[in-house]
């Protein structure tokens, strides 16, 4: 079974066949009022690569993303069937610690949403709730995370200023730093650059390329150029279904399905 799953991942541009990190099988999601958001989605996300989810609005990209860290649990009357496996373990199993799962699968949202606290406290938040009290340790991780999010140089002099004073792009990188601080394995980015100006977007994209050395990254984007620029693999979804998944190069140059081609070439969407 494992070998079969592995076979789904075609080798990337460098010819390396990556390990699977997140897998979904038969994943369906239905909201109240019988609106089906996902329909038997089958997808394997490669480790330490950037995977982009693309597709027209309302195709279920965000719903799928929120299945990976069970944030959909918060939505009332939302029924999920099928399996999602992280490192081979079903995350919807009864005994899974949801908070630990969410720690391992970090998420960055469309709009930057820093807490109305200082920059430092924003990054330290996830650490404090996990019981880390040592000041030295906190300082260390905060600096590491902010550096990893390419923000350290910009904010190191005003760590204790309110995070709300930062610009949108900075806020978004702060949110990424906040997520990195709790040491996730997977990073979900939900249209995280869509609300930003081009320069900030560029910085975020650079950051994503940098981060994929250590993290498995899944991004949802409306921006096909962005997907083409940063993603190693791309999944095209439509109407709650996984239409096509392959390396980015193949999806954008030689898609198998017609729907994919029509979307890529901008004939609808």
């Amino acid at each position: 079974m494992n070998s079969e799953e592995l076979s789904e991942l075609n080798p990337d541009a460098d010819g390396v066949r990556p390990d699977p990190c997140l897998e979904t099988r038969n994943l369906s999601l239905r909201y109240a009022g019988n609106r089906r958001a996902l329909n038997k989605v089958r997808l394997t996300i490669p480790r330490q690569r950037v995977t982009a989810l693309i597709g027209p609005s309302g195709c279920g990209k965000t719903s799928l993303l929120r299945c990976f860290n069970r944030l959909n649990d918060l939505v009332d009357d939302c029924v999920i069937t099928g399996r999602v496996r992280l490192e081979g373990k079903n995350i919807y199993a009864a005994k899974v610690d949801v908070t630990e799962l969410r720690r391992r699968v970090g998420m960055v949202f469309q709009k930057p949403n820093p807490f109305p606290k200082s920059i430092y406290e924003n990054v330290a938040f996830g650490l404090r709730i996990r019981g880390i009290k040592s000041r030295r340790r906190l300082d260390e991780i905060v600096q590491e995370s902010l550096s990893a999010a390419a923000l350290w140089e910009e904010v190191k002099d005003r760590l204790h200023k309110s995070a709300l004073e930062l610009s949108g792009g900075q806020q978004q990188r702060l949110v990424i730093a906040r997520t990195l601080a709790v040491a996730p394995e997977v990073l979900l980015l939900d249209e995280s650059a869509s609300a930003l100006d081009p320069i900030s977007t560029l910085k975020i994209e650079e950051l994503i390329s940098e981060l994929k050395k250590n993290y498995t990254i899944v991004i949802v984007t409306h921006n096909l150029q962005q997907a083409a620029r940063v993603a190693d693999y791309t999944a095209f979804m439509d109407m709650g279904e996984m239409v096509e998944f392959d390396t980015t190069a193949r999806i954008f140059t030689n898609p198998v399905r017609r729907r994919t081609e029509e979307y890529i070439t901008g004939r609808y969407g």
Partner: protein, 769 residues
């Protein structure tokens, strides 16, 4: 502790399959982390459980109010209950002349035909003591009478024409009861009829002293009045005789009474003849006695069996052998007193064999020839049949003073006790809401008069006048508040730019914060005298104020257009302040002239003469203004929101096809906001219903039913504030007040819920537009 970025890297490398041996230190740290995670999870669960429990607990404790009020009200509907009759071991001979039970002292008293008083222990039935009534030597007991005031005193008449008045006292010493007879007028008998045998006897005690009336088969009736020491040495002792004695003859034609009743009003005496006719005699001092009215107590086919004065000594109950019992009392109409049958109870289908009354409530117990027990509250007209006596026919019944025990003596000479639980006899839904005929009233009426101080006064529990007062106050308040609040809401919600609205709205809402006690104080002590003195100016002001505004508007319209534009911004309100002040001033200055020109110098006199409207200083007009002031913000705030939240594209559409702002408002905005405005009115009404301090302070709190704007009222809420601290816990009065507060609670709750429902529906509708 090892976590964060480094931990991730380690973790990542381990899971990516790269070779690397975990250090023991890292493993320990990882375990510690896991333990901490477990603790966090437990914390989360504990917090969820605690908050849920706490939240539910708190919310249910708020809702407890409903249940508690219900719980306090519920006993009112419990009705009367009686246990099984317990037969005492004693067997007595002959028929009792006198039977009395006092469960408080635990003693029953029975006096037989020979004048022998026997005391029984009520719980065991044992004979405690025998004591002969102090009778003149050789005289036989011929008549007895009870005190119509319910004091427990009684009088005994003998065949030598003498009378003795007695009471009894049960002193409890070291656990044993030693009851004995006492003679407040002294043990020596009073010679009243000069040797003629006493056939009928009447007794009344009161603060003025005691009156004893005695009659025989021939000769005049004698009335003896003697002062009593009004302050007995201790609470349980009977009063003692004072000095002054008056004795006079009363001639009432050829009436030979079988029974004499002395009602509490010393002007009257009631004489019952052998034929069952009751005569009302006027015996006021100074005038010769006169028979004012004669009535037959029963129908032609029935025979009178028992008759008793009810508690308070104002009305009597006459029972007959057809199973009926009727209440009679003296009604004075146009200065003429007559006896009226006020109500009748068809209790049994056979004779009423025994009957007794309670001492402080208008409640009597009757036992039929077949042994059925009936408990009747006369005022509330409630009848219950809580039990049945299956021995030989009952002959005599004695109801304990508080009505909690009935002592029976049957034809076989057995004594039986019957525990009765009838705490709320005075309550019935019918008496609460419909017209009831009370003692001393010429006709049925709706009255609230819950004085618990004096038994002589019948408590009158009709919530109708209070409800009427509540609604009257609320309606006048709404008359004042609704137009003002809604007009203001229309202006700020539709015409005013939202920047100005944001500033003005909190100012009007500030009215809501003003403590109502301050508004009540100003209404009662500042506004009431002011209006009292300047009624005309006020009436004129009500006319001139809108007129002034219209004139100002006209003047503005005449201004050149470019000046007019400014006023669209909603700052008319500032320009109008001087206009209103000016109009008020003009009204005040013109008032005396207008008053003398149109109303002969005094509007108030004119109102009285022309329309018969009495003017009371603290009246509904004051309440309307003061309480209106208090409810304006509630109405305004919600109505303004309702108008403001009507989506703008609705009005834009209308404006685009050439409607002006006013037309848009009337044809589009107001209909759309109507449910919201309705809900605002409901909230305001609910608030006016429950407002206490204003009504309490700015009216005379008289529970009258008169819609006149210039008369006062008493509201349910104010009545609660006045009466509940003084009502006895657990009494009917107390529980009826709880019922009133429950009515208030439910009413406001329902009206608020309805308003909320309307509002939510409106909100949903707008969301869809």
């Amino acid at each position: 502790m090892n976590t964060g970025v480094k931990y991730q890297r380690q973790n990542g490398s381990a899971t990516s399959g790269a070779a690397g041996k975990r250090k023991p230190k890292a493993r320990r740290a990882r375990q510690r982390l896991l333990r901490y995670a477990t603790r966090r999870r437990l914390w989360d669960r504990a917090a969820r459980a605690m908050v849920s429990m706490g939240g539910l607990g708190i919310i249910s404790s708020i809702l407890l109010i409903f249940f508690y009020l219900f719980y306090e009200v519920l006993p009112l509907f419990g009705g009367a209950n009686a246990g099984a009759a317990e037969i005492l071991p004693q067997v007595v001979a002959g028929e009792a002349m006198w039977l009395e039970a006092d469960p408080g002292a635990g003693v029953a008293l029975r006096i037989d035909e020979r004048g022998l008083a026997s005391f029984y222990d009520l719980t065991t039935g044992n004979l405690l003591d025998n004591e002969a009534l102090a009778a003149p030597a050789g005289a036989a007991l011929t008549a007895m009478a009870r005190d119509s005031a319910g004091s427990g005193l009684f009088a005994a008449g003998f065949d030598d024409g003498s009378v003795v008045m007695a009471g009894w006292n049960a002193a409890r010493e070291a656990g044993s009861i030693s009851p004995r007879l006492e003679y407040p007028l002294g043990p020596q008998s009073l010679a009243m009829l000069d040797g003629r045998a006493v056939r009928a006897l009447g007794l009344r005690s009161g603060p003025g002293g005691v009156s004893i009336a005695a009659a025989s088969d021939s000769g005049p009736l004698m009335l003896r009045e003697q002062a009593l020491d009004s302050t007995p040495p201790n609470l349980t002792a009977l009063p003692r005789a004072g000095a002054e004695i008056r004795q006079r003859e009363i001639v009432v034609g050829d009436i030979r009474p079988e029974q004499i009743l002395l009602p509490q009003d010393p002007r009257w005496m009631l004489l019952l003849t052998a034929t069952g006719e009751l005569n009302l005699a006027a015996i006021g001092p100074g005038n010769p006695a006169e028979i004012l009215d004669t009535v037959a107590l029963t129908t032609a086919t029935a025979r009178l069996t028992r008759m008793r004065l009810l508690a308070g000594g104002m009305s009597l109950i006459a029972a007959d052998d057809s199973g009926r019992a009727a209440q009679w009392f003296i009604v004075t109409e146009d200065g003429r007193a007559s006896l009226k049958k006020v109500r009748e109870f068809a209790l049994f289908d056979n004779a009423v064999a025994a009957l007794d009354v309670e001492r402080s409530r208008r409640v009597f117990a009757a036992v039929s020839g077949n042994g059925e027990l009936a408990l009747v509250n006369v005022t509330a007209e409630t009848v219950s049949f809580p039990g049945e006596w299956d021995g030989p026919a009952a002959l005599v019944a004695a109801l304990a003073p508080a009505g909690d025990l009935l002592l029976l003596e049957d034809a076989a000479g057995r004594l039986a006790t019957w525990r009765i639980d009838n705490p709320h006899a005075e309550f019935s839904m019918a008496a609460l809401w419909s017209e009831t005929w009370y003692e001393n009233y010429p006709e049925p009426a709706l009255v609230w008069q819950a004085t618990a101080a004096d038994d002589a006064l019948e408590p009158k529990y009709s919530l109708a006048p209070l409800t009427f007062g509540t609604l009257k106050a609320a309606l006048y308040a709404m008359l004042f508040a609704a137009p003002l609040a809604i007009c203001a809401a229309v202006f700020t919600g539709y015409f005013m730019p939202s920047g100005a609205r944001r500033q003005i709205k909190p100012l009007i809402e500030l009215m809501e914060a003003l403590p109502t006690v301050v508004i009540g104080f100003l209404a009662g002590l500042w506004l009431a005298p002011l209006v009292d003195a300047n009624l005309m100016a006020l009436a004129l002001g009500a006319l001139l104020l809108p007129l002034g505004v219209l004139l100002a508007s006209l003047a503005m319209a005449r201004l050149p257009e470019r000046l007019d534009l400014e006023w669209r911004e909603g700052w008319q309100i500032l320009a109008l302040a001087p206009v209103l002040l000016l109009a008020g001033m003009v009204a005040w200055l013109l008032a005396p002239d207008v008053e003398s020109l149109l109303f002969d110098g005094s509007l108030r006199d004119w109102l009285v003469q022309r329309w018969g409207l009495d003017y009371v200083s603290r009246n509904a007009l004051i309440i309307g203004a003061a309480m209106g002031f208090a409810v304006i913000p509630a109405i305004y705030s919600i109505a303004d929101d309702a108008i403001f939240t009507v989506p703008r594209h609705l009005s834009n559409g209308a404006l685009a096809i050439g409607a002006n702002h006013w037309q848009t408002l009337i044809w589009l905005i107001l209909p759309a906001a109507a449910p919201g405005i309705l809900s605002a009115l409901m909230i305001g009404f609910g608030r006016a219903i429950g407002e206490t301090m204003i009504v309490l302070m700015a009216t005379g709190n008289t529970p009258i039913m008169d819609a006149n704007l210039f008369e006062g009222m008493r509201s349910l809420a104010a009545n609660l504030a006045i009466e509940i601290p003084e009502s006895e816990v657990g009494s009917s009065h107390y529980r009826i007040l709880f019922l009133a507060s429950l009515v208030l609670l439910l009413f406001t709750f329902v009206i608020n819920s309805a308003a909320e429902l309307v509002r939510q529906r409106l909100r949903r509708k707008y969301r869809m537009i």
